[in-house]
């Protein structure tokens, strides 16, 4: 198990380094269109082949990894922090505060957030650079993606509120703030971590779906989500199975995250 963890950690580090130094590693710019060789098979120049517009898939995968590996966890972190605040306080405090917070969470979950995102995109200025549209996309994902996690965390906090050690701490005269920070939150860490981890691939895939609705990372920037959209063209995938690379990389990276960052490590 230890070896597996080490291998996973080494793989993640390798992916991060590759993504970070993509500019040095890739033979051609990610946006350059080799129009004479669209849908090309893997070769020395194009290690994974090219996409429909003749862009190098390996370059796009590395640059896409940089974007997705930095921004999906960032969005997930934002969503988890909001969920921890809302769910943790509601669950620990209980009473009317819990009812209001849970009501707000249910409302947020019942909102047609996809349409809210569309509305948000419709009011954004048109001349946003691809980088700005990227940041906005993931920030919106973080702001809209906290509600489900908040419910889970609230349930966890409620369980802790009535636990023996919290009662003991209260009986010893600890303040509510101290109990929350020193007793409740450390015990919520596994739940928070699980929510953080679950949200990463969800946000990557959501970004891919948003692309279809016009809210994804805009051209010519690549992202894992955008690359996964390339799998829609199944005949192209059959012709060049290397096109599955973004999907495989996503699966392996998420698995490695789970192996490296075990929940036990976060237990108090």
């Amino acid at each position: 198990m230890k070896l597996l963890r080490r291998t996973a950690a080494a793989f993640l580090i390798a992916v991060f380094i590759a993504a970070l130094f993509a500019g040095v590693l890739v033979p051609v710019p990610y946006a350059k269109q080799f129009r004479d060789s669209p849908n090309a098979m893997p070769s020395r120049i194009h290690l994974l082949g090219t996409d429909e517009l003749g862009r190098d898939l390996f370059s796009r995968l590395l640059y896409g990894s940089r974007i997705s590996l930095l921004l999906a966890p960032a969005a997930s972190l934002l969503a988890t922090i909001i969920a921890a605040l809302v769910g943790g306080v509601a669950g620990y405090a209980g009473g009317w505060l819990e009812r209001i917070a849970l009501g707000g969470t249910d409302l947020a979950m019942s909102l047609p957030w996809l349409f809210l995102l569309l509305a948000a995109r419709a009011v954004l200025p048109l001349n946003l650079s691809p980088a700005a549209s990227l940041l906005i996309t993931f920030a919106l994902l973080g702001f809209f993606g906290w509600a489900a996690s908040a419910r889970v965390i609230c349930a966890g906090a409620r369980g802790l509120r009535d636990s023996d050690f919290v009662l003991q701490a209260k009986a010893c005269g600890c303040s509510s703030r101290r109990v929350l920070l020193q007793q409740v939150l450390p015990n919520l860490r596994p739940a928070l971590f699980a929510q953080f981890l679950i949200s990463i691939p969800v946000f990557i895939l959501t970004e891919a779906n948003l692309g279809i609705l016009g809210l994804g990372v805009s051209e010519p920037l690549p992202s894992w989500g955008g690359l996964l959209r390339g799998l829609e063209n199944w005949s192209a995938v059959q012709a060049n199975p290397a096109r599955l690379a973004p999907l495989l990389l996503l699966l392996v990276v998420v698995s490695c995250f789970q192996l490296v960052l075990r929940q036990e490590d976060f237990a108090p």
């Binding site: 129009r35 429909e52 995109r121 419709a122 609705l213 016009g214 051209e219 005949s235």
Partner: protein, 543 residues
């Protein structure tokens, strides 16, 4: 000479023998991509209903989809007079509707009166309405009918291709038809079954009654992947329009089943926002109103690459508002704008723009950057936008791509005018230029680059207005063609729309279906439905 005679004899024997290989009780199957909204031929406004009308309706004049010429159907002869205000028909004798009710000129008069009733709001009737006033229809005897319009109707005869005659006496109302098939069964959301009209009047060269097919089953199926799968399994025999990627995919598995018929009437184009009140900076408005700027952008776009890369070669660089597929109206003296970034730069530099090797700046020092909006989810448009982005980068123009959901896009291009450049397509179904009046008249709401102008903003728009009105007010086809050629030339010179490509018409036809002769006009594959038959030898053939 003797050999030639033998060859001719053998060929005529083969032709005569073709229907003998037809399956008896054969049913043709294909897909409707949406639920038909109506079976009333006068209220047709969607493609599925149009298909049913084409297969069941009898018309006075039919546009031959192959030659694009007019052919007599229920009207044996006709005469247009009074400068396009009056049309007289002599109708065919001895015909009956599908329920056995006899057909007379009275039915034509009844159909036209009903069609032109303003209360009915018939989309087909609207195309005849050129001005206010009553339409007079008289049937002096059972074989003759005269229709008088309050003012001249441009391309009058051609409009009768859409008018399916309904019976004035049949208790079955519009269910009694004069076309080759009649509706036999309809299961909402599932299928429409059409059966052969035993009263249909047409016969083949050997005197056999048409149509050859006994029935047509039209399955309602929105999903194109499923449609393709069903075609591959042999469950359906036709796909009326394929997109390039489906075409390529099917071509690998069944090369004999796919056909690229050449450029269709549909075009893809971009246009700059020239609305004076639009919420975009004034310096950008100045660029977009400049003809040189628009021409430079047009020259910087590599249309050949768009056709080759995005459409896998199944498209042609577009010239203007009329596709070369429109045999009569296309202005053959025009050519697509050549790809020439150097010429584009020279043009811009003459206007005071400066290119430092990376960025293009206008005479006031603003870097040339704008956004293109298009509808999200359309793979081809997104790819075209990405290619145009790279093309424009070569002349220092920075293009930002924004894909929006369709309602947001429409809101921006037709209400708030908060956009800079738009990439969209135009689906043409009518060959006649009068169908494009709403696009070209500067007062129209569909005059996309600057709609609803009180007076034309430019002299060339005023000239287009004049020419479009002139072509609509005469029935002399030669004169009309001359006027519309001039419109096309002005559009080519001014580039209010920068036309990109004309997509090819791509279809799939089962080899078991015989006598097929696909064309670019709708309905591409079954326009000659009477002559189609399913071969029991598993392989049909072409006309």
């Amino acid at each position: 000479m003797r050999n030639h005679r033998l060859a001719l004899l053998a060929a005529s024997f083969l032709l005569a023998a073709l229907p003998a290989t037809a399956q008896s009780g054969a049913e043709l199957r294909f897909v409707l991509r949406s639920e038909p909204k109506t079976f009333d031929p006068m209220l047709v406004d969607d493609e599925a209903s149009e298909t049913i009308r084409y297969l069941t309706g009898g018309v006075l004049i039919r546009v031959n989809r192959k030659t694009q010429a007019l052919e007599p159907e229920l009207g044996v002869s006709w005469k247009v007079s009074e400068g396009g205000k009056k049309i007289s028909f002599r109708v065919r004798e001895g015909l009956s509707f599908s329920d056995g009710t006899p057909f007379t000129a009275e039915d034509v008069a009844f159909t036209m009166q009903k069609l032109m009733d303003p209360e009915l709001h018939s989309p087909t009737g609207d195309s005849f309405r050129s001005s206010q006033g009553q339409v007079r229809v008289t049937a002096p005897d059972p074989r003759n009918v005269v229709i008088e319009f309050p003012s001249a109707v441009a391309g009058l005869e051609r409009l009768f291709d859409q008018v399916a005659i309904v019976s004035s006496h049949s208790p079955k109302k519009e269910a009694a038809v004069l076309g080759p098939f009649a509706i036999a069964e309809y299961k909402p959301g599932s299928y429409v079954l059409l059966r052969r009209n035993s009263y249909y009047w047409k016969k083949d060269a050997q005197g056999r009654k048409l149509p050859y097919l006994d029935s047509i089953r039209l399955d309602v199926q929105q999903n194109r992947d499923l449609e393709l799968l069903r075609f591959k399994r042999g469950e359906i025999q036709l796909i009326n329009s394929l997109d390039a990627s489906y075409f390529e995919s099917l071509a690998k598995e069944a090369p004999a089943a796919v056909r690229d018929i050449g450029p269709s009437l549909d075009s893809e184009q971009i246009w700059f926002n020239q609305v004076p009140s639009s919420p975009i900076p004034n310096y950008k408005k100045k660029w977009f109103r400049s003809t040189s700027f628009r021409l430079a952008i047009s020259e910087a776009i590599n249309r050949g690459d768009l056709c080759r890369v995005v459409f896998s070669g199944h498209a042609r660089p577009a010239v203007g508002p009329v596709s070369p597929a429109n045999l009569f109206w296309f202005n053959k003296s025009l050519e697509p704008n050549p790809y020439d970034p150097q010429s584009a730069l020279r043009r811009l530099q003459q206007d005071g723009f400066r290119f430092d090797g990376h960025v293009l700046n206008d005479p006031d020092g603003h870097s040339v950057e704008f956004s293109v909006v298009t509808n999200a989810g359309n793979k081809y448009r997104e790819q075209m936008a990405a290619m145009i982005q790279q093309d424009l980068e070569q002349i220092g123009v920075r293009l930002n791509i924004v894909t929006l959901d369709f309602p947001s896009l429409i809101e921006r291009i037709s209400r708030t005018f908060d956009y800079e450049l738009c990439l969209l397509g135009l689906v043409n179904v009518d060959l006649d230029p009068s169908a494009q009046m709403s696009v070209w008249l500067s007062s129209s709401s569909n005059h996309q680059w600057n709609p609803e102008q009180k007076t034309p903003a430019t002299s060339w728009e005023a000239e287009i207005d004049r020419l479009m009105q002139a072509q609509a007010s005469t029935n002399d086809q030669k004169q009309r063609k001359s006027y519309f050629d001039q419109v096309q030339k002005i559009v080519w010179d001014q580039q209010p729309f920068i036309y990109l490509v004309n997509k090819n018409a791509l279809v799939a036809i089962s080899p078991a279906l015989a006598n097929t002769s696909p064309v670019v006009l709708r309905p591409q594959t079954f326009w000659n439905i009477e002559s189609l038959y399913l071969s029991n030898q598993g392989r049909g053939g072409d006309q």
